[in-house]
Amino acid sequence: MSGRLPYDPRPWRVRRDSALGNSSMRDTLQRVAGRLSKAKSTAYGDYQIADKWRLAGVAAKRRAISQIDELVVQVIGEIERHGGKVHRARDAAEAVRCVVEVAQKNGVKLAVKSKSMVTEEIELNKGLEDAGVQVVETDLGEYIIQLAHEKPSHILAPAIHRNRGQVKELFDVEADRQGMAHLANADIEQLTQFARQQLRQEFLSADMGVTGGNFLVAETGTIVLITNEGNADMVTSLPPLLVSIVGIEKIVGTWDDLSYLLQQPALSGVGQRLSSYTTFVSGPRDESAMDGPDQWHVVLLDNGRRNLVGTPEESILSCIRCGACLNVCPVFRQIGGHAYGSVYPGPIGIVVSANLDPSMPSFLDLASQACSMCYACSEVCPMDIPLADEILTLRNHRVKTMAEPLLVRRTYEMWGRLWSTKAGYQKTIRIARLGQRFLIQKKKLRWAPGLFGGWLKTRDMPLIPPETFREWWAKTHGE
């Protein structure tokens, strides 16, 4: 069964141009993404075991995916043996329904969340809010975009598209709402401390915590969360009820597997050997202990994932959401996450969105729109996912299913037919020479029909010269 993903209904043109018009976002993005990419290569460069372990991690992920059905059974058994409750959700709607039910049964009014892409995928906040549960995002970036009613624009840095002034404006509104004084200025440290104070209260009074999971270890039913701020530790240890929502592809077989993978997200994402906090949840709180929830629910989400197992695309399920492919992508660096119109942006976003939810044409179109085929993503991916090849496969699928505009298809058909023979090729030279005589203005081409016109919108193109190389060759080396 294929899944459903939320999408931005605005057309690509609008999404792209609004991103290209946001120069402060683009500046920050260039700087941060560039820095993270460099940090990544240095981190692997001076750390001997990193690459060896990475390869062992890749093998572990691939193995887990090929054994996914068995591992799901195992993980359910283990979690329940340790006192947790597992719910299986075939799609986004089922997952949301399940969390809402748990919340309602326990009279939850306030839920605190740590950052989780999968909850964005299922639009959990909306579901909970519709059911009367207030949801507070506690990751600093997520908190900011929640106040702005936006979606994350980067897997790791969700609010990277906003500058400090814009953040202050949001915090001022929040301060007004609570009758507090505004911050004196948009100092980043002050902004951070404002969020700390606000959120501290929420942590202490929340009825429910919600997390995702970076890994789920089948042999003990342990969820592993990797964060830098410490909010996931609050969420997993303070509220009386904890719900963890995890895509089935996050399951790995053993702790041995985990040991090779654990450092990879931080190494690849931010160039650190480990993130500040790695949190392991293996069950609800023991009577004798202080920390942890009284109840722990785990929602295992499919939403189109199982469908990919056994297909040529299954390697994309190995993604550990490190964000490295986003950081290195020249298109992402220009347009940021929102332009993709999916909760999953960047190269992996193109590939995952279209494969999890094939019903959405705008996801498939991204493969052609948001990629220059530079292969930087394939090169950087720690899980050896052939991202560029996957994008190419999607382009090919787009052609095969006639999803391209007719005119474009005809252009390629004609071009391909002509250029697969010498005679056809020479014919295009004659036509082009003839054509350019009519189109020339002030010695330059300013407009041309079809695809080629796209080039001339923003760039010049030299004219076809009086003598092409082959004509020169024929003349000088002639028959």
């Binding site: 970036g141 990277i160 500040s276 609800p284 709180r285 202080m290």
Partner: protein, 192 residues
């Protein structure tokens, strides 16, 4: 990677400090209580008096009794109810934990929730102090995880540096939700 304790200590120290973690070590002539006093003296500068310090684990509580400080402190321990205990810890300035193990290779320390230990001291106050027996430093994350798997507490965490975020304009900020400053006090038990 079966190198000796001192090599692991050195490697741990480099990696821990790289992440802006502070480090102190018990002197040969010093009792652990005296070393702890010295460490707390450093942490207490910059904390308004009296500094509220969480001493939860029995081991830490015993030590706390031997601590002599110039500054005024108030020790926070177990209260009558869980809620009261959490509220008290939430208003503390300094938290103390004993590390289960540490990783030389990454500069990390691991804490477990047990009937005697809580993670809150590592999370709620702005200053965190970890007591680490040098014998508990393992070379890489792998050995640590195998340990963790053996005990499998309901909740555990590996700490690698202070709480931080680069969510606003990509500028690094420390002390977002958890501690702003983390210190390790290295000591050597009889096991060494």
């Amino acid at each position: 990677m079966g190198n000796n304790v001192e090599e692991r200590v050195a490697q741990f120290a480099i990696n821990w400090q790289r992440l802006s973690g502070k480090i102190m070590r018990q002197d040969l002539q010093e009792t652990l209580g005296e070393a702890l006093s010295r460490a707390l003296e450093v942490i207490c500068t910059g904390v308004p008096e009296p500094a509220a310090i969480i001493a939860w684990e029995p081991f830490v509580q015993d030590l706390a009794r031997t601590v002599r400080l110039d500054c005024q402190v108030e020790w926070i321990g177990r209260r009558a109810s869980r809620a009261n205990s959490i509220a008290a810890m939430a208003s503390a300035d300094i938290g103390i934990n004993v590390a289960q193990w540490a990783v030389a290779d990454t500069g990390s320390v691991a804490l477990y929730v047990t009937p005697e230990a809580t993670l809150y001291p590592s999370l709620l106050p702005k200053q965190h102090l970890v007591l680490l027996d040098v014998a508990d430093i393992v070379p890489t994350v792998r050995e640590g995880l195998m340990e963790l798997r053996k005990h499998l507490p309901q909740l555990a965490k590996i700490i690698t540096g202070p709480s931080m975020s680069a969510d606003i304009e990509g500028q690094l900020q420390i002390g977002v939700h958890g501690p702003q400053s983390v210190m390790v006090l290295l000591w050597a038990s009889d096991r060494n």
